[in-house]
């Protein structure tokens, strides 16, 4: 059985376990490729985020509050493509959840793209990318 690399990466993503199995350092690039090759439909996944400038002026230079939502998703995984370790978090929504949305605070090494990928019950994936500016060392940006 011969598989191209692209097919192999796509296949490995079909199981949730594969999320954890892939090497973390190359995850950002491989995740992008795999999802681009694999997900079948583009939905209305929303990825909104904002920079808390007031807080950035103080000690938490690079802490950013991120809100992510994907109605109907069973799982949302987030990456920060510019961080040394791009993995951020995986949200799994259980039967008692009221919406497939969550807010959290993450560290960003610099201005970069934050990627959210939602796994839908039918096996498809949705992706949203949002560029986040981080002001380090002042409030100018």
């Amino acid at each position: 059985m011969s598989l191209t690399r692209r097919e192999f990466v796509g296949t490995s993503l079909t199981s949730a376990a594969a999320f954890a199995a892939l090497p973390s350092l190359s995850f950002a690039a491989t995740a992008d490729e795999a999802i681009a090759a694999y997900y079948r439909r583009r939905g209305h996944i929303g990825c909104r985020d904002h920079l808390d400038r007031a807080r950035n002026c103080r000690e938490r230079l690079n802490t950013v509050q991120i809100e992510v939502s994907a109605p109907g998703a069973e799982e949302i995984i987030m990456f920060a493509a510019g961080n040394p370790n791009p993995n951020v978090a995986t949200f799994k929504f259980g039967p008692m959840s009221g919406s497939q949305a969550a807010t959290t605070r993450i560290r960003l090494a610099s201005e970069q793209d934050v990627v959210a990928i939602a796994k839908m019950p039918d096996g498809s994936f949705l992706k949203a990318v949002s560029n986040v500016k981080v002001t380090i060392g002042g409030c100018g940006g």
């Binding site: 951020v88 008692m96 969550a102 993450i106 560290r107």
Partner: protein, 109 residues
Amino acid sequence: MAENVTPRVRAPREASVGEVVSVRTLISHPMESGMRRDGDGNVIPRSIINRFVCTFNGEVVVDVTMEPSIATNPYFQFEAKVMESGTFNFTWYDDDGSVYEDSSDITVS
């Protein structure tokens, strides 16, 4: 070893049947990423909370796997749909094996 880890939870005490309620959690924790070095150039070992689970009457609301990119004092906001009175249970799992717990009751009418 993280010290003075204090979970804080804000969830409504009352709701109507089928209402979607917002839950906010914050836990004080340094979330040492394992990437930083101390003054002598030695890597400071990773020490984070790696998992957070919220359940309502034993059923999962949200189950979060956390990585070092989560900021200090992890904060989460999410929503739960309540059909009956019960208890939210919140559990955080630390790298060092510690488990932190909190709970919040809600009356549904």
